[in-house]
């Protein structure tokens, strides 16, 4: 007992102040990309050639965050001349096309659906379906339940049954073997329901693009309301998206 109390005292309160204060992330974190618009085409082409995800649109000089895995190769080989990845983790969008960006993202709050806010603003119950990613996205959703992020204080919970849920959070590129289970889970949720796509492999196939076993884009099989990019998205990116879209 004494031991338990001693530990309790040592641990203290660790919950972060977000969204009131923005917690600092370490400097090497790669968040929202800001494109340098006056960059020469040669540099953009070199970046596009080196990009493992073919996520760079040479003509538009934009990065598709739905494909990007935030490896930072383009920033590095252009020495920042094409793009700089900032520490801004607030990068989610309500439309897939908004993910193709030069750094100027539309405000998520303004693009969220007002009736969702009304319905789910005070209580949002989500069912997570893991469908063939690498499990890092699940891991960084799971941490939202730890004391540091403490998702439940916002009235948002992950629940066990789709019958108890207001929507699904999908991770992974929906393998052939998972497709039916995903669709059945989706159907089991009562209307109106929300679909959230987390991670680049969910949004576009990401690292697994080109495999005949996967679905390239969750939006090709379900109506997606919220896109959370990253590989995986930082937990704060997830938190920002959920709070801004529904609160």
């Amino acid at each position: 007992m004494l031991n338990t109390l001693k530990n309790r005292f040592e641990q203290g309160c660790r919950t972060c102040g977000y969204p009131k204060e923005k917690p600092a992330v370490f400097a090497r974190y790669r968040g929202k990309p800001i494109i340098q618009k006056d960059v020469s085409s040669d540099i953009v082409e070199a970046c596009a050639k080196a990009c493992p995800q073919d996520a760079i649109d040479i003509d538009l000089k934009k990065i598709d965050m739905g494909r990007c895995v935030f490896c930072g190769t383009c920033e590095r080989i252009s020495k920042g001349a094409f793009v700089i990845f900032t520490d801004d983790f607030e990068i989610s969008t309500s439309k897939k096309e908004h993910l193709l960006t030069d750094g100027d993202l539309p405000s998520l709050a303004e693009h969220s659906k007002q009736h969702f806010k009304k319905l789910f603003g005070r209580s949002l119950q989500l069912r997570q379906v893991s469908a063939a990613g690498c499990n890092a996205c699940e891991a960084d959703l799971n941490v939202l339940a730890t004391p540091f992020f403490d998702l439940a204080r916002f009235g948002i919970n992950f629940v066990a049954s789709p019958r108890h849920a207001d929507g699904i959070v999908v991770t992974g590129p929906v393998s052939r073997n998972m497709k039916t289970a995903l669709l059945t889970t989706y159907e089991a949720i009562a209307e109106p329901k929300v679909v959230i796509a987390v991670g680049s492999c969910t949004i576009t196939g990401g690292p697994f693009t080109g495999s005949p076993e996967i679905t390239e884009g969750l939006d090709t099989i379900l109506p997606v309301d919220l896109f959370i990019p990253g590989c995986p998205p930082h937990p704060l990116t997830n938190l920002h998206a959920l709070l801004t879209f529904f609160k």
Binding site: Q53, A132, E138, V143
Partner: protein
Amino acid sequence: MTNAFLEISNGEKIAREKIPHLSFDEFSKTALLVVEDGGKVVQFFAYEDDNDIKFMAVLRTDKLFVAGCDAPDSYPALSKACEPFHMFEREIAEQFGMRPEGHPWLKMVRYHANCRDVPDVFGNDYKEDIPGNYNYYQVDGDEIHEVAVGPVHAGVIEPGHFRFNCIGERVLHLEIQLGYQHRAIENLFLNVQAKRLPILAENIAGDTTIGHSLCMAQAVEALTSVTPDKGAQMIRSIALELERLANHIGDLGALSGDVAFLPPANYFGRIRGDFLNLALLLCGNRFGKGLVRPGGVRFSLADDIRETLAERLKELKPQVEHVLDLLFSASTVRARFEDCGIVSTYDAEKLGLVGPAGRASGIPYDVRRSFPTEHYSQIDIPENKKPTGDVYDRARVRYDEILQSIHIIQSLIYSPVETQCVDDSNFNLPPSSFVVTVNEAWRGEVSHAILTDNRGKILRYKVKDPSFHNWNGLAMSLRDTGISDFPLNNKSFNLSYCGFDL
């Protein structure tokens, strides 16, 4: 020991013509001899070469051995005499349609059509949903009932199907069917541009990003005759230990939650995050993605990073120690952990368990000791084996390794070796070569093997996650155990679905 196989080293480039190409009989006879004598199977796979299907096996004793042979369409199963081949033969049957006659338990592994368009060994129609027409193992009797769980589980976890045959609360048999996460990664490796290789390796299993990245990078380095500098080797070792720490700590927290002792569950949940953040400190990603590349690492240990890393570790170490003490000194926790889900050394040997699960069952094998890569030949790793193979021992191995990993990182932080960061670069692989790499990731032995054809194109890329061995260990631990202890046993192994499913 001399045998018909060729002795090789971990991460050594071998010209394919040097690899003994045996008759199937000799291949099978020698492989059986080595493994019956206590050897283990590191890799055993089929590949297509000039329209012929061939087998290749990498075995280990205290050394590594390789040999190949022509693959017959059907052949007497090696598993009939020697259990450690069991999963590999099923995998080969699924991937290439070669039938191991007399295999004791021939069923699909991941549920997908074979790559040769030959009739399916399991008689599955892949237009139908998993699990096809497979009949689960059934126990007969009036009192017997079945419990089916998954693929979608009641939590934020990966999909898999679990079928329990129970009498009352007691589990007689657990059958685990995976494959839901199958993305055909091995085939992707054959077809993508070189720049995508590291990204693929990182995403085989996100919680083992460093383990798999190292196997891939070391394999490419061996083939292209590149040696990363000392600093890179050190940073890679630090990263692998950080990965071990985050996962072991997270698992101990989850185990604590499963026996309803919530303080350590919450503390370790948060502390795990702190260790993930240290990976982010190093390379900008909480799972270490973007750090390891063929040739070295992409991020150095700059002075300010060293400082912060050292500071954080100093701060976290006593917290970790105190929570470990809280967890392991609670009698209620010990009452639940001890004697729960025992896997005997005998069974563990037959199943070929690796990593902490193997060590908990008395098998000392640790790649860091046996076939050290990176900086590990300079680091003294204790044996870490335990006697009973219950949940307590599986937790206890983690306990020991957590303290050791913190110590290892602390001892490396201030080594004054610098590294020349590598950029993502293209590489050309040499023709007709072979390499196999093994590393001790947090779940145990990860192994990648690459074969190139006569133009230097990848002919076969084989990935093995430790979960490939250990899922059967979990099934075994449930025998004669209360079904309510399933979550506890499951967490004590905490195996990868995506790493298994590829």
